[in-house]
């Protein structure tokens, strides 16, 4: 097979986010900001070694970066407000290092599952592409908490997290096909 003979089919999804996409991505922004704040809370607790703090800071910065990426996709729709419900669910579990890791792993699993659910509703390809690259990293971060301080294969590989994503219906797409009157 040569490249000249391969081609994509004619119908392709839109690149830009639709209005419904933007509402979904706004939800993503909220949960990512909640994650950013939870990592900051963990870092500020003073319960972790320097290496652990460096890792937790990095994870928190990743989530902040994801929230900013949503800004670029949704523009004026962005509110830059964290999801308080998700924040409240986890903030009380950051009191000890052990419970903090379990909670942060649960948080990462929830984010990966939620964003996967959102990806399954998006029409726009630009957002889908970015969200896909975020989801794989969130899965990695969740797995890290299953390997450190000691490997638990089950903990690293399994996730039973539930999605928090809302269901938002897409408006019918206008047809771009040309019909010829008989």
């Amino acid at each position: 097979m040569t490249t000249a003979q391969a081609r994509f089919p004619r119908s392709t999804p839109p690149a830009q986010p639709t209005d419904a996409d933007k509402q979904l991505l706004l939800f993503t922004q909220g949960v990512e900001l909640a994650a950013r704040d939870l990592y900051k809370k963990a870092v500020d607790s003073g319960k972790f070694s320097d290496d652990e703090v460096a890792m937790l800071k990095m994870f928190g910065e990743h989530h902040n970066s994801y929230a900013q990426a949503m800004n670029g996709l949704i523009g004026k729709v962005a509110t830059n407000k964290r999801n308080d419900s998700l924040y409240s669910t986890h903030v009380g579990q950051l009191a000890s290092a052990q419970s903090a890791y379990a909670s942060l792993q649960s948080l990462e699993n929830t984010l990966a599952t939620t964003n996967t659910d959102i990806l399954g509703q998006l029409l726009g390809l630009d957002a889908a592409r970015i969200l896909a690259s975020i989801i794989t990293t969130e899965a990695r971060m969740a797995a890290v908490f299953g390997t450190l301080p000691a490997l638990s294969l089950t903990s690293a590989l399994n996730s039973s997290a539930n999605s928090l994503a809302p269901k938002i219906a897409q408006a019918p797409m206008a047809s771009t096909e040309t019909t010829v009157a008989p």
Binding site: T2, D51, S65, A132, T147, L148, L153
Partner: protein, 268 residues
């Protein structure tokens, strides 16, 4: 007024005569039967045009399924060949789990293929096998390689990253949003496999993020190498080290147009 010397006139005249004779020799001549084979020796073998490959959701999913079989075959080779020795032998259960996960992924992807009107693909991607896996295994299993088990883990890590990137990459090409979610669900599993293997190869909190090898200047294996999942090349260093202590570097890439499993591609 043109200034043409006698010498110029002779040169032009000579060329004209030569050209006319040459053209006459190439053209049809009286009394000579034209032959279709006059310019070739023997009959030309008829050519068959390659079928046109249309990249559809089914093709992308079949390609993903083929990579799952690459992983299954590799893990089976590791287990059957007893390639995990010493401390690495304790990874045997993890390798079995990874292999079983890949089989489950292959089955799930092929169900999507069939549901989308395609034909299930139940064998490894030959191009990936030929280009990357077999050369890597040859390097790793060479008698002079002192790091056989470690390099096997490095190969597995590279393949898991390759699978992650393949699924992540097809998200932008799949037309059905539900299929994109299905693809990224499997990508997450592959990414988690990669993290477990990364921690075996370069463990600890300080190695989770990106770091650089001070001696070689190359990036170390990391559990979370970047904020966003990469779609770039996957590096693998394996085999017997050189006199300078440097292993052979292999570069793996996700299937391109020549490596896709089009509708007309079958398992041999």
């Amino acid at each position: 007024m043109n200034n043409i010397s006698r010498r110029d006139a002779l040169r032009v005249g000579g060329l004209s005569v030569f050209g006319a004779a040459f053209l006459a020799a190439c053209g049809e001549q009286a009394g000579v039967v034209p032959s279709a084979n006059i310019l070739s020796e023997g009959a030309v073998t008829p050519t068959t045009a390659l079928p046109e490959g249309v990249i559809t959701d089914v093709v992308l999913l079949r390609t993903a399924a083929s990579l799952e079989y690459n992983a299954i075959d590799t893990y089976n080779a590791v287990l059957e060949g007893g390639l995990l020795t010493g401390d690495y032998a304790k990874l045997t259960d993890a390798v079995k789990r990874f292999r079983d996960d890949h089989q489950a992924h292959a089955d799930a992807v092929n169900r999507l293929v069939v549901a989308s009107g395609g034909k299930a693909h139940t064998c490894a991607n030959a191009r990936i096998d030929t280009l990357y896996i077999q050369p890597a295994i040859a390097l790793i299993t060479a008698k002079d390689n002192p790091d056989l088990s470690k390099d096997i883990v490095a190969l597995a890590h590279a393949l898991e990253n390759l699978a992650t990137q393949t699924y992540q990459g097809v998200v932008a090409s799949l037309t059905a949003p539900s299929l994109r979610a299905d693809a990224i669900r499997i990508a997450q599993d592959e990414a988690r496999h990669a993290v477990v293997l990364a921690q075996v190869l370069n463990g600890g909190y300080a190695s989770v993020g990106p770091t650089t090898n001070a001696a070689t200047g190359k990036p170390n294996i990391a559990s979370v190498p970047a904020a966003y999942g990469s779609l770039g090349t996957v590096m693998l260093q394996a085999g017997a080290p050189s006199a300078e202590g440097v292993k052979t570097a292999l570069t793996l890439e996700t299937p391109s147009l020549n490596g896709l499993i089009y509708d007309f591609v079958d398992c041999q």
